[in-house]
Subunit: 326 residues, 2 copies
């Protein structure tokens, strides 16, 4: 399983490839939150989300002869693009199995990044694993899972190393670190990095209402699942349950989960636009929403939050600004 | 007049205050431009534009006893906010004289940053200098001009020091550096910094059609003026003519100006949204527009461009995305 040595090794392999994203702030956001808000904008990472870190970490950890045969991933969105870009950088094939009803922009981007995209019919009952496994076996591809993979968690953990250093540079000794959470790859990776490098900082996973499997799992002490699988604007972080690898880490290291509504996520998007000049996608804005609108559930005079991605289409963004932008 | 020593001194005074903005890129933008595009997003600077650099540089250069009496600025937008924030940081008064018809958001922001805002009636013929000079004399305030001030130019030049270092780190020896240009404070400041630190990089001022006073002045060798003063979406960079201090620098150091249409600026805004996850205002997007849509007027395999600001209201942003976001 991932440990701090693996995260540091991933950081060394990502050096000169992943962006070191800045830590931003606005006095206007501080006022709403009632404390200092420091924002880690992973929407500025390559491919528009933190997923590039994990993708590059996983591919760079493969033995060259294995990597040369190529990789495969199942994803409708950000993980697809992160793996596709990392594969392109290594000049190796990437096969991404995507649902036919994924946003056209995400399909187009993944193909433009050089991946071979195989579409399957989610509604028609096609089984993506069956499709993927046949191709994987035939071509000798390596599967890159979206979160339950030690090297992927290590890659996401490099974001935590940066947060630890950036907090230290600002004199922040203790703070909640709010992390947008789907399967828990980013939350568990950051938590492991902070445990070693900034033990006063504590991860709080943030989720949308109705998809609070991690918050409930942290309360009950065992893996809980969501009833629904879709129908929420926060599409990037709608996972059925915390991962088998990520949950034990989160259980050991994370504080209680925070849950926000779709409306709050959209309001946070509009505020990121107005006050930070950043484009956040709804799922990437839930941690900022929690920082701004769950102030009584957070401790301390400073809160750190991730904006985990910005891959939102123009129509959705216009809608958020139309409702909450003035 | 400003020289490299003043710019370096300004950088030392801004250390720990101004943000070192990153240098971003996207393979999708490279494809449109036909070369590598490196973007310097000053929309991520404090107050949402590069103007904070000049404001902080000017205030930090004042003798403390003079600074303590306060400063005054005339501005309807980004300079107002940059000076207001710098004054608040020093705990000294700022008076900003703004037209009553300035965007309400910019008036509100300037007041929220702690400045005293005095509104005047532009249409009714009130003279802002007359209003400002009386207050300045009564209170002993120091005027901070938006561009024709050696310390303001030095502050904007700190952006050029960063560009020089970031280009060097990427192995870029020669490139055009496209800069959004109003009165020429940012263009001349960057040009002076690059002359000393990266002589292979050459500034190209970028302007909107109908407000190409700098491009025409560079061609004729003397200060030319614009016929119109307003009525263009690029409100942040609509100045009547290049400055008396900035023009000689631009004439000596800059390559030919580049001119883009309003439509091209709005298209560049939509592409910054989609490909960089950044919010650019129209005037802040003209250099990116030139990089993308004036490829035959640019030399070399790499182009660097500023996004100089992101203070655009939600209605205008929605309109740009509605027209060009898909």
């Amino acid at each position: 399983m991932t440990d701090i040595a693996m995260i540091r090794a991933a950081a060394a392999r990502l050096e000169g490839h992943a962006r070191r994203t800045p830590l931003l702030s606005s006095p206007f956001l501080d006022q709403i939150a009632g404390r200092r808000v420091l924002v880690k904008p992973e929407c500025l990472q390559h491919t528009g989300s933190f997923k590039y870190r994990g993708g590059r970490a996983a591919l760079s950890a493969l033995v060259p002869a294995v990597r040369a045969r190529g990789v495969i991933a199942y994803s409708s969105g950000n993980h697809a693009q992160g793996v596709a870009r990392a594969a392109a950088e290594f000049g190796v094939p990437a096969v991404i199995v995507m649902p036919r009803d994924a946003p056209q922009l995400k399909i187009d981007n993944t193909m433009s990044l050089g991946a071979e995209v195989i579409l399957y019919d989610r509604a028609g009952g096609e089984n993506r694993e069956a499709i993927g496994e046949a191709i994987m076996r035939d071509r000798g591809l390596t599967l890159v899972k979206p979160y339950d993979d030690p090297q992927v968690i290590a890659g996401q953990g490099t974001c935590g190393l940066e947060i630890a250093a950036q907090a230290r540079a600002r004199g922040v000794q203790a703070a909640d670190v709010l992390v947008c959470c789907g399967g828990g790859g980013l939350s568990s990776g950051i938590a492991l990095a902070l445990e070693a490098e900034a033990p006063g900082l504590s991860v709080r996973p943030c989720e949308p209402e109705g998809f609070d499997d991690v918050a409930r799992s942290l309360r009950s002490g065992r893996i809980e699942t969501n009833d629904r699988q879709s129908d929420n604007v926060c599409d990037a972080i709608l996972t059925p349950a915390p991962g088998a690898l990520t949950f034990p880490v989160m259980r050991r290291l994370c504080g209680p989960g925070l849950v926000v509504s779709e409306t709050e996520a959209l309001r946070a998007m509009a505020l990121a636009f107005q006050r930070l000049k950043l484009v956040a996608e709804p799922g990437g804005a839930v941690a900022l929403a929690a920082a701004l609108f769950r102030r009584d559930d957070i401790a301390g005079d400073t809160v750190i939050c991730t904006i985990s991605g910005g891959n939102v289409d123009a129509a959705m963004f216009r809608q958020a600004l139309g409702r909450f932008g003035d």
